[in-house]
């Protein structure tokens, strides 16, 4: 505890350590929530610059929530809200070696449906869900990043899964 008193974000090595710890998660959080159009990388930069400017007022323990709140607000300030459509790349399942055109078409169709269903999720659902499914984060880790309970994370992720499957069936 005594050590924390001397740890100051204004020291560059502390600042860098915080950057290395949170920047990627922050970026991914912004990306899954708002998509790529609003430049999540630039928002990460801005949020960390704001952290630096306020380095004497913020303790290292508060840095994470400051960063997530600041970056989130920067995104919200930027533009009127519109539906987020995430880009996707083709995932090649290694088990299929000779893919016939019909299968490829089905696959493509499926991805389109999935993309649409994802954009229909609430921001909170999509963010938690993709941090879990794509980034492989466990409920507890997500809960810590977002400052919510593990239960709430579980609810969001399971809710997102159910909603996705429902929509894909219907589309």
């Amino acid at each position: 505890m005594g050590k924390h008193l001397h740890e100051n974000i204004c020291e560059e090595h502390i600042f860098s350590a915080i950057f290395n710890k949170y920047s990627k998660d922050l970026h991914n959080f912004l990306y899954y929530k708002f998509g790529e159009l609003l430049n999540p990388k630039d928002k990460v930069q801005e949020a960390f610059i704001k952290l630096w400017e306020n380095c004497s007022k913020i303790s290292p323990e508060k840095a994470k929530s400051f960063l997530f709140t600041t970056a989130n607000n920067l995104m919200l300030n930027e533009a009127a809200h519109q539906k987020v459509v995430l880009k996707h790349r083709q995932i090649k399942a290694k088990s299929y070696t000779n893919e016939n055109p019909e299968f490829l078409m089905q696959e493509d169709e499926y991805m389109k449906k999935l993309q649409k269903a994802l954009s229909n999720l609430s921001e909170a659902q999509r963010t938690a869900f993709l941090m879990n499914r794509v980034e492989g984060k466990r409920f507890k880790e997500i809960a810590e990043l977002l400052n919510i309970s593990t239960k709430a994370v579980e609810k969001r992720i399971y809710g997102a899964l159910e909603k996705l499957r429902q929509e894909i069936k219907e589309l």
Binding site: Y32, W52, I91, L161, R165
Partner: protein
């Protein structure tokens, strides 16, 4: 049904034990779930290179650090004070400079009521603020001084310095020509760190570095103040140079001996008369086109 939800949640949280995994695999929508999960990987966020991004943020911070240093209120005030002070300093120490062009003469008053008449194509520089301490003027060209009594008065020229205490004198410093004529009082001329004292009517003349002995001056003011230039046994080139300055013309005088001594004068108010005055005594002819005058030997 409850069991299914629980299994799926545990699967999502990567928290299934062996037994639960077996049960999960038996769920009718197992393939569906795994397929969905695999396809979701295609929506992965753009690559984020943390070390590259950190470098970027540190670069910004380092450049704004300097900026914030200047934006600090204390520095803002300091900067304003510095600007005010230097402005004050600049305006109070700035020199006053008076220049005259071709065919232009002017008379000015110095801060102590001394007066200076400045002949054509000359420059006079002095400082109002230090005037009380040192009466120094810098001169390039020709000027006539009427100095009121007071502390030492210095006229600094490229050729030498003239020191006076309250008198009337003329200084002419042009290229290789340096002349001081004292009309009243005593004037000290320092030339090559040698002091020469001039009494009223005496003059000091250096041409091409050589001291020229001249006759006593009988006039009380230099002739140029009356819009005439007088020459007594002076090289012809000095006459031509003065003529050029007074009329703003260029004189071409090829094949003419410009070291020949000339005695005479020309007026500043009529160029034709003036031209005759300087050409007839030497039996020269002249032609004039625009601003160029060509002199030819008869």
């Amino acid at each position: 049904m409850m069991e299914r939800e629980k299994l799926i949640k545990k699967w999502l949280d990567n928290d299934l034990n062996d037994q639960e995994l077996k049960a999960f695999k038996k769920l009718e929508d197992y393939d569906d779930l795994v397929n969905l999960s695999n396809n979701l990987k295609g929506f992965k966020a753009e690559e984020f290179d943390a070390s590259k991004e950190l470098e970027r943020v540190l670069r910004t911070i380092h450049s704004t650090k300097k900026q914030s240093f200047w934006m600090h209120p204390v520095f803002k005030i300091a900067a304003i004070l510095a600007i005010c002070f230097s402005l004050y300093y600049y305006t109070t120490t700035i020199d006053t400079a008076i220049t005259t062009e071709f065919a232009q003469k002017t008379t000015i008053e110095l801060p102590d009521n001394s007066s200076v008449s400045i002949n054509s194509k000359s420059l006079l520089v002095f400082n109002k603020n230090s005037w009380k301490k040192v009466r120094d003027v810098e001169l390039e060209g020709e000027a006539f001084f009427k100095v009121s009594k007071g502390s030492t008065f210095n006229v600094i020229t490229k050729s030498g310095t003239i020191t006076v205490y309250g008198t009337q004198f003329n200084v002419k410093q042009r290229d290789d020509y340096f002349e001081v004529i004292c009309y009243e009082g005593i004037v000290g001329v320092t030339y090559n760190s040698q002091l020469t004292k001039l009494k009223a009517g005496e003059s000091f003349l250096i041409i091409d570095g050589k001291l020229i002995v001249t006759e006593k001056e009988n006039n009380t003011t230099p002739s140029w103040l009356n819009n005439e230039s007088h020459f007594k046994s002076l090289p012809y080139r000095e006459v031509l140079a003065e003529f050029e300055r007074q009329y703003g013309v260029i004189i071409k005088a090829q094949n003419i001996d410009k070291t020949e001594l000339f005695t005479g004068s020309f007026t500043h108010s009529n160029i034709s008369t003036a031209l005759k005055s300087i050409t007839l005594p030497l039996h020269l002819k002249y032609s004039k086109t625009n601003n160029t005058i060509t002199l030819i030997r008869e």
